[in-house]
């Protein structure tokens, strides 16, 4: 029944991919609605009921615009830039566990099917690998445009991503030290109770991580690569039609994926308060197991949507940083803070058995 297992896996991967694209599409709509709400406007309301068809109308407009390649641009690299940005954005979601396991024994599949693309034992490093590759799309596109403003935008993006990648990986090391595994699945399973969520055990690491996530996604307040007031449009100045659309769309996919990673690493993933209570109430057969899993998936998507909203909320609240402020924050505050965080976490992890035995009388 191996074949059925792979079939179930293939369907799960396709569904995850589809949901990624769907949420990214509707993030564009949500962004405009949230902006309108914060600025006391109405927002898109013409295409379809409540403007719900707006993203589709936008995509249609993007496809039918003139696809322009500048005369002196490096043609192949000009096309490769947005493609790379899109590929690296889409690849990341395959190691994120979107739920626990499905019990499909009634279909003849003996093993439990995890709701996750692939469970590699280096999951979190895979995410970092793709995050560090994400900058190529912007750099290649910016250089191939043969435009000084594009190049400057690309350079800003590259130096910003390199700087914040360091602090991001250092803040994760503290979690890896506590869990003892690089697999995202195990990191999530380590947070199976509400008070064990990493946001409570690693508050400093969480703040560093979320700031770096904003910087890696090139979102406000760190959207200097496309800073309109200084650089016209940054790295995508010369882009038009769906190539521009891909750059913008990749940003929304990145936002979705980083929300998913933040919820999985710091907010317990698909675990929710009262899970064990609910598990006791549900029947202990395949149906109960699957029902619990599906509730977990729903909770996880709720957390993801909250963080996507948080990204938008910050965008319309905080002003853009100046470039030297950005670099100072990255190198002089976040990196020393995350190294300190690692040292403190290491000391606590080593001393934890002694602390526990010293307070044993409380139990």
């Amino acid at each position: 029944m191996e074949l059925y297992f792979f079939l179930a896996k293939a369907i799960i991967i396709l569904v995850i991919f589809g949901i990624t694209l769907l949420i990214a599409t509707y993030s564009t709509y949500a962004e405009r609605k949230v902006a309108a709400f914060i600025q006391d406007r109405i927002g898109p309301n013409r295409a379809g009921p409540w403007g719900l068809l707006q993203p589709i109308a936008d995509a249609g407009k993007m496809f039918f615009k003139e696809d322009f390649i500048p005369a002196k641009a490096s043609k192949w690299l000009f096309i490769a830039g947005p493609s790379l940005a899109m590929i690296t954005a889409c690849l990341t979601s395959c190691v994120v566990p979107f739920g626990s396991t499905l019990d499909l024994r009634f279909l003849g599949i003996e093993n439990l099917v995890p709701i996750q693309g692939i469970d590699v034992n280096i999951g979190i490093l895979y995410v970092f690998g793709l995050v560090s590759l994400g900058v190529y799309g912007v750099m290649i596109g910016g250089w191939a445009s043969n435009n000084k403003f594009s190049l400057l935008g690309a350079m800003r993006a590259a130096s910003q991503n390199i700087s914040y990648e360091l602090a991001m990986s250092l803040s994760i090391i503290a979690i890896i030290m506590m869990t003892g595994s690089l697999s995202i699945n195990q990191i999530v399973d380590d947070q199976d109770a509400f008070w064990k969520w990493n946001v409570f055990r690693q508050p400093v690491g969480f703040i560093i991580f979320i700031v770096c996530a904003f910087a890696e996604c090139n979102r406000t307040p760190f959207d200097l690569p496309e800073c309109e007031t200084e650089l016209i449009g940054g790295y995508h100045t010369e882009y038009s039609s769906m190539k521009l659309g891909f750059y913008l769309f990749a940003e929304y996919i990145n936002m979705f994926v980083s929300s998913a990673v933040i919820s999985a690493l710091y907010f317990g993933g698909y675990h929710f308060p009262g899970e064990s209570l609910l598990a006791g109430m549900l029947p202990a057969d395949a149906l109960g197991h699957n029902l619990l899993t599906m509730i977990g998936v729903g909770v996880f998507f709720g957390k993801i949507l909250f963080f996507i909203f948080f990204f938008m909320w910050v965008r319309w609240t905080i002003a853009r940083f100046r470039y030297d402020q950005l670099m100072n924050l990255g190198w002089k505050s976040l990196i020393p803070l995350s190294i300190l965080n690692i040292l403190v976490t290491g000391a606590v992890v080593l001393a934890w058995p002694k602390i526990e035995s010293a307070f044993a009388f409380l139990n």
């Binding site: 280096i122 690998g129 560090s132 590759l133 250089w143 190049l151 350079m155």
Partner: protein, 170 residues
């Protein structure tokens, strides 16, 4: 399946490594070099060494090559004409190629041929837990020495890049 993948990755690795040298445009060279790193990572995955594979991507493709690309994009390479004697340049390259080829051939000619023993082969040897155990027990001293080397390199880079006294523009 594995063998076909091996040939695919090897072909791609050799092709892209050649393109690194053949390409006229240095940006294309760097991009082909990144492709080479990807194919090497594919080889590592075929050897069941996932950790090395992904670290290779993070460190080389993700960090070092970004800096390469970064630097080359800022250079105005069209103005850089070749200065100096053509003949000496060519002779020097031929000499270096011969020495390197000689080293490689002699290495492969005299190296003992080992065949993996399937009975004693541990397919989990490349996993991150086993790698960590080995690094922090059997190779602890070299590992610490390498980290000291890295630290001194970092301190050296910071010292070289720092602002000199009286230097206003940076």
């Amino acid at each position: 399946m594995v063998q076909n993948l091996f040939y695919f990755f090897s072909f791609l690795a050799v092709l892209s490594a050649l393109m690194v040298i053949i390409s006229k445009n240095p940006i294309h060279s760097v991009l082909y070099l990144i492709l080479t790193f990807f194919t090497l990572s594919g080889h590592y995955i075929l050897l069941n060494a996932q950790f090395i594979s992904i670290v290779n991507l993070i460190v080389y493709a993700g960090a070092i090559m970004v800096l390469f690309l970064f630097t080359i994009m800022f250079l105005n390479l069209k103005d850089d004409e070749f200065v100096g004697s053509r003949i000496w340049y060519n002779l020097g390259s031929v000499f270096i190629v011969l020495v390197l080829a000689g080293l490689l051939v002699s290495k492969f000619a005299f190296a003992p041929v080992t065949v993996a023993d399937e009975a004693s082969m541990d397919s989990q040897i490349g996993m991150v837990e086993n790698l960590g155990q080995t690094l922090f027990s059997r190779f602890l001293v070299p590992f610490e020495l390498v980290s000291v080397l890295f630290l001194s390199a970092m301190v050296g880079a910071v010292m070289l890049g720092r602002r000199e006294k009286g230097e206003k523009n940076f």
